[in-house]
């Protein structure tokens, strides 16, 4: 019997949109180097600039404010690296403020880059979040001072889906004279946003979270914001990011945001209803569960739930055997020994963090997927709890 397959891990990555695939296949014919002056080059250049316009329009930016990069992680590392910059055109480095303020729930690429800055002698503050994963705005404000070069706060969290009030945070930063960056990898294409309205200086987005391929992302750099390249050695991207452009990926990203613009609102409504059903279904069928994440300011398709006494990797693998793909905050699945830093930051106990799973739905998921999941999950949890040494409740 063919097992039904349900992909509930869209925050990890998404399948290509069929129309994006078509655009990529076409772009494969345009092999020229966008930097070449001849016709082949000009064709490739046109492809890249067309996509740049689309990405810019989608987030309310000017095309020249969009810089293509190889991934969200590269984009985030690039922005954080300007804290160390000692070059003349961007001298916010050694002669100016050199501290960074960020939060405890950022993606590892921000956390690790921040820790690296701290090791190199820059002041780094990690601000707390509340039990819903919202950044504590008072503490954030207190953490920013005249030594602060940059503040970086993610817009939507990848694990629990909580969406921050970026507009207010940007205002707090600017009132105190600091630059502001938001990692919007999980937000772009799911939450409507406009960089001018939010008034951010930098914003990172990624292709493969929105039905474009892996290996392409973009950074919005506000006109006039200080900047220093992370990857040097070429004039591409207005001298900001060396390396021959990934024309296929860029064309795909352009198409992906265009499609997001058309699909995201209706899809958001649909996902919200699916998440409601999921939440109600889980709460009705399984005792001793904890939902993590903000009840309203949350990505429509993301649900993080923790089951007392059930270890996350075991849940993930039993679900996998039933054809369902989710992810977990358990240490055992990550190769490290620590459970999710995000869930711990919300104040949930380590044992709950070890027993958490993340369901992240996307454009291809249906209510039937939700129902199948709800058919399978209670049996999995009760099976694990029956052999659990850490579950005293009803089985």
């Amino acid at each position: 019997m063919e097992t039904r397959r349900v992909y509930f891990d869209n925050n990890a990555t998404t399948p290509l949109h069929p129309e994006v695939k078509r655009v990529m296949a076409d772009a494969m014919e345009t092999f020229g180097n966008p930097s070449s002056l001849h016709a082949y080059g000009r064709e490739a250049r046109a492809l890249v600039e067309e996509a740049r316009k689309k990405v810019a329009a989608f987030i309310g930016a000017e095309p020249e404010e969009i810089m293509f990069v190889g991934s969200g992680s590269e984009g985030n590392n690039t922005v954080l690296s300007i804290v160390t910059c000692q070059g003349r055109p961007c001298s916010i480095g050694s002669f100016g403020p050199r501290n960074l303020v960020t939060t405890k729930i950022e993606h590892p690429c921000i956390l690790e880059a921040s820790k690296c800055l701290a090791e190199r002698g820059f002041g780094v503050t990690f601000v707390d979040v509340d039990s819903d994963g919202k950044v504590d705005l008072d503490r954030l404000e207190d953490a920013i001072n005249d030594r602060t070069a940059l503040v970086s706060v993610m817009m939507a969290n990848n694990e629990i889906g909580t969406v921050q009030d970026i507009k207010t945070i940007a205002r707090i930063c600017h009132d105190k004279g600091a630059l502001f960056h938001t990692d919007a990898v999980q937000a772009v294409g799911k939450v409507r946003l406009d960089v001018k309205e939010l008034d951010v200086d930098f914003l990172t987005l990624s292709g493969h979270k929105i039905y474009a391929p892996k290996g392409i992302g973009a950074v919005y750099v506000r006109k006039g914001a200080p900047f220093c390249p992370f990857i040097r050695g070429g004039h591409q991207e207005r001298g900001r990011r060396a390396g021959t452009e990934n024309t296929i990926g860029i064309a795909a990203l352009g198409k992906a945001v265009e499609l997001r613009d058309l699909e995201m609102d209706a899809e958001g409504e649909r996902l919200r209803a699916m998440k409601e059903r999921l939440k109600e279904g889980i709460a009705a069928a399984i005792p001793d569960v904890h939902f993590v994440g903000h009840p309203t300011d949350c990505l429509a398709g993301t649900l993080n739930v923790s089951f007392e006494g059930a270890e996350g990797e075991a849940i993930l693998l039993y679900l996998d055997l039933a054809g369902i793909a989710v992810s977990t905050g358990s240490a055992c699945a990550s190769g490290s020994l620590d459970p999710s830093h995000v869930i711990l930051a919300t104040g949930l106990s380590p044992e709950c963090a070890h027993g958490s799973i993340r369901i992240s739905m996307g454009r291809e998921n249906t209510m039937e997927d939700v129902d199948y999941f709800l058919d399978v999950l209670p049996g999995v949890i009760s099976r694990i709890r029956k052999m659990s040494s850490a579950y005293a409740g009803r089985k």
Binding site: E311, P350, S388
Partner: protein
């Protein structure tokens, strides 16, 4: 399963899907010895309960419960089968490597999860000795301080190896061992080799 197979071996899958000897009713089992190890906070805990034929000194039944991942479940399940009929002394010497061999190998980063079962088994055997007035047979796994500057024990070095550290530098990153006077460096290197051989079969699945 689908064409990409499963993340672990078929035997691990079998024991994960159909775990043997789960301790569902502690009261009814009436164990002769019970051992608990691990910590829920760290994401893994194990209870092992044994029944012993006192005359022959042989384990007649072994049941278990865990808050643990697939590797912990599968390795303890197979261990509970292995020890039935085994003499207490032999069961006490059962190593994670023996269990791992029986399972057909776990990915290296999952070995750490599989050592709880035999630890809890030893605790259960000691518990049996204690309850039956054979305290002289109890063998404690006492930690010995190897590095007196940083107060690091042999257990911590073993733990670091289980977590994947293989070189002195990697063990130092985890434990800070031998980072002050350096007098224990040679012994630490010896221990790293010893624990690596103890837990990881160099030839298994590799060339």
């Amino acid at each position: 399963m689908d064409k990409v197979g499963w993340v672990y071996s078929d035997k691990v899958l079998d024991h994960f899907m159909h775990p043997r000897n789960i301790l569902e009713d502690e009261q009814a089992f009436q164990a002769d010895g019970v051992g608990v190890t691990g910590n829920v906070k760290c994401g893994d805990q194990m209870i092992v309960a044994i029944k012993v034929d006192a005359e022959r000194g042989v384990i007649t039944d072994c049941k278990w419960k865990t808050f643990g991942c697939a590797s912990a479940i599968a390795s303890t399940s197979i261990m509970s089968e292995m020890v039935k009929g085994m003499r207490l002394e032999d069961a006490f010497r059962l190593s994670p490597r023996d269990i791992n061999k029986e399972l057909g190998g776990l990915p290296e980063h999952k070995i750490h999860c599989s050592v709880l079962g035999d630890k809890a088994l030893r605790a259960a055997i000691n518990d049996y000795y204690e309850k039956t007035g054979q305290a002289e047979k109890i063998q404690r796994e006492e930690a010995r301080v190897v590095c007196s500057c940083m107060n690091v024990t042999d257990h911590e070095i073993e733990e670091a190896v289980l977590e994947g550290a293989r070189s002195l530098y990697e063990v130092q990153e985890k434990t800070k061992v031998a980072t002050v006077c350096g007098e224990c460096t040679e012994e630490v290197e010896r221990l790293i080799e010893f624990y690596t051989n103890k837990h990881f079969c160099a030839t298994e699945g590799r060339t």
